[in-house]
């Protein structure tokens, strides 16, 4: 039963390669650079000129963020964007590419974060602990994701979604109740390795006017890991495995009839997605130096992920980038604009409340509904469509 949204999800068009054919390039080294670039993005570049430029601009902005946007708040926003790109892209693997609707994604995010948080809070602070915590989080995620993946075959879409909601809810409850392990509602605060601490200085003198301290290093760690994970996901969706996933989304029975075990693929994609989310969670913990049920396990976070993946465009991975930026920036900066409008309308009773800064979710929700109705392919999907 192909839905509007299903039909709207695009597979990368063949002509999307932006590099010209070798014949037009006289220089062999330029050809090699082109080939190398293509290899990096797994032959799946954003696509259109506008998208390519946009992505490059975003990449540059994130790469030089500490220098372009100095200050802890801006750096925090940039970190959040990087982490969410991974969180949302990994969700897109399930939703956009395989057609699985799960509400348990934040659970894996939380597990990754708690893995690092618990170990850093309870034992010695060091990179070994961080590695161990990350691995532990990933391991738990793998086990849970396998269970959920196996469930998904036996249950219809809606039934499955409801069960994932219940599972996520249970995780939230456990995290909030198990004070001894997770710090309960208050969560865990902990120290991070010395290099990441704000007091640490990589260079004695400021570089380009910015002091390269622990915050900056934490940011670059986040950025590097996020970029790497994103490119890995690009490779995954463009591999034979990825093609089978897309086929499953279109017509599962056919795929089964062709001899592929759909259960295995579904489970595998759930596991990969969960691992990515878990790693994103580990990064989140390091950035925040804190983790609690509200930071990583809340349902409103799950809704934000849905917002991001739909606005950006499902089944594109690049949509995760656009979506994350739109929503995170809205979260932080929309409130100011709203505040201004609200003040201007202070005489009109209801209007003033409509534009109150706390109502940024209202406007995002309206945007979301409009996009699902009129532009279901999202920003990237729409831009990728042949005109």
């Amino acid at each position: 039963m192909a839905t509007h949204l299903d039909q709207a999800v695009q597979t990368p068009p063949d002509e999307a390669l932006t590099d010209a054919t070798p014949a037009a390039f006289p220089s062999a080294s330029r050809r090699r650079i082109g080939a190398a670039l293509r290899w990096i993005v797994s032959d799946d570049p954003p696509g259109r000129i506008l998208l390519n430029t946009g992505m490059l601009v975003i990449l540059a902005a994130l790469l030089f963020a500490p220098f372009l946007f100095p200050g802890t708040k801006a750096l925090g926003v940039a970190s959040r964007i990087c982490i969410f790109v991974i969180l949302v892209a990994s969700y897109d693997l399930m939703l956009g590419f395989t057609g699985i609707v799960s509400f348990a994604h934040t659970m894996f995010f939380g597990i990754g974060a708690y893995g690092v948080a618990i170990l850093l809070a309870k034992s010695s602070v060091g990179w070994g602990t961080v590695a161990l915590g990350t691995a532990a989080g990933a391991a738990v995620s793998i086990v849970l994701a396998t269970t959920i993946g196996l469930l998904s075959l036996r249950l219809r879409t809606i039934f499955f979604s409801m069960i994932t909601l219940a599972i996520a809810s249970f995780a939230q409850i456990v995290a909030a109740q198990w004070r001894d392990l997770t710090g309960g509602e208050d969560g865990l605060t902990f120290s991070v390795p010395a290099v990441l601490k704000p007091g640490f200085r990589l260079f004695a003198e400021p570089v380009l006017g910015v002091v390269v301290n622990g915050w900056v290093i934490t940011y670059y760690l986040t950025f590097a890991v996020s970029l790497m994970l994103f490119l890995i996901m690009l490779r995954i969706v463009n591999s034979p495995f990825g093609l089978v996933l897309r086929a499953i989304r279109e017509n599962e029975f056919r795929v089964e009839a062709m001899g592929y075990r759909v259960v295995a693929y579904r489970t595998l994609v759930c596991v990969v997605s969960a691992i990515m989310a878990s790693l994103a969670g580990a990064l989140m913990a390091l950035v925040l130096r804190y983790n609690g049920p509200d930071a990583t396990l809340s349902f409103s976070l799950m809704i934000d992920i849905l917002l991001m993946v739909v606005i950006g465009g499902m089944g594109t991975l690049y949509g995760a980038v656009i979506g994350s930026i739109v929503v995170v920036l809205a979260e932080y900066y929309l409130q100011n604009s709203l505040g201004a409008i609200s003040a201007a309308l202070s005489d009109v009773p209801v209007a003033s409340a409509l534009f109150h800064p706390d109502r940024w979710r209202l406007w995002l929700g309206i945007l979301f509904v409009l996009i699902v109705t009129f532009v279901p392919q999202g920003v990237v999907g729409r831009l990728r469509q042949r005109r």
């Binding site: 809606i158 219940a166 409509l354 209202l362 929700g365 509904v369 699902v372």
Partner: protein
């Protein structure tokens, strides 16, 4: 012969679940608190049933899962607040008649408001997404956010107290058990609504058509019934029920905030899963079970209380993977 008996037993087993739980709790808890908790559980169950039954009927007949159902619960609660404010004179009097009259007015207003919103919602939002489960989930979640935010715009972000009417505060004493008066009233009202629903479904032609439509939509159409026209009515009835549930829950908690629907959502989903998607009878049993479990476990092992219903759901799914009363085709 033996197989027939086994089949019969198997068929009756789901019905036995609730009495079993109730009886099992008695020795564990002790007669005194047991009665209080059982009434509390039944009341909570009946309120949850009102909310959940609407959702399961909508899903059963129209194959639409309305993730925005919680919004209608909230609308009902808030409309009740607005209706009861000018009626403060009636609710502060120690007269049972006046109090009940005020509550009845609030109940009906909540139902009408949620029903009306449901009509608009079905026309504008649901119509677009019949037969498309992914879009349904997405668009109804979006609508949920928007409606809840609009509630805050209209009524403000602060939680609003909703004190119980004067003659319904306090408790009734039965032996060594104390039972809140409001709970008894809520239980009666809830049962009355449930009974009305049951009569409608089983004794009227329209109810018969709805029940048949839940089982096999194509066949009911092949018999000449324009089931699509019934969709709107059922959707409105479902949202009206949610509104009623919201009003009663808000009054019960004596506090109304924009998240009132959300807190119920997970329990409602659990009830639907336990009962079997689309089955109103299953929904009833599921709701009572969830209400009882919450209260019994809340007394016996408070730490487990929140998660206990999810565990209950898991146990039932292990026994009956499609819920207690699954409907073929769902």
């Amino acid at each position: 012969m033996k197989k027939e008996w086994l089949d019969r037993l198997h068929g009756l087993a789901p019905y036995a679940l609730t009495p079993l739980v109730v009886l099992a709790a008695l020795p564990a808890i002790g007669v005194g608190p047991w009665l209080t908790l059982t009434v509390a559980g039944l009341t909570m169950g009946i309120m949850l049933f009102l909310v959940a039954s609407g959702l399961t009927l909508i899903f059963g007949l129209m194959d639409v899962l309305n993730f925005a159902h919680a919004a209608f619960v909230a609308v009902g609660a808030y409309v009740a607040v607005s209706v009861l404010r000018p009626l403060a004179g009636w609710t502060s009097e120690l007269s049972l008649t006046l109090n009940l009259a005020a509550l009845l007015l609030a109940l009906i207003s909540a139902a009408l408001a949620s029903g009306a919103l449901g009509l608009v919602f079905e026309r504008v939002i649901i119509r677009q997404v019949y037969g498309a489960p992914l879009r349904q989930i997405l668009i109804t979640i979006g609508a949920l956010t928007v409606i809840e935010q609009l509630i805050i715009v209209i009524w403000g972000p602060e939680a609003i107290p909703l004190p119980k009417p004067a003659s319904l505060r306090g408790s009734v004493f039965l032996g060594s058990s104390s039972i809140e008066t409001y709970r008894l009233v809520a239980l009666c009202v809830g049962l009355a609504v449930a009974a009305a629903m049951h009569l409608f479904l089983t004794r009227t032609r329209l109810g018969l058509v709805v029940r048949a439509g839940v089982e096999d939509r194509e066949m009911i159409q092949s018999l000449g019934y324009h089931i699509r026209r019934v969709f709107v009515g059922v959707f409105m009835a479902g949202t009206a029920l949610a509104g009623m549930g919201g009003m009663m829950w808000g009054q019960y908690q004596a506090l109304v905030d924009s998240q009132i629907g959300d807190s119920m959502t997970i329990l409602v989903f659990i009830i639907l899963i336990i009962g079997g998607l689309g089955s109103v009878g299953g929904c009833f049993i599921g709701a009572i079970l969830v209400g009882l479990t919450s209260n019994y476990v809340g007394f016996l092992a408070p730490k487990l209380a929140l998660g206990s219903n999810i565990l209950l759901m898991a146990l039932i799914l292990l026994w009956q993977p499609r819920g207690l009363f699954p409907i073929a085709g769902h």
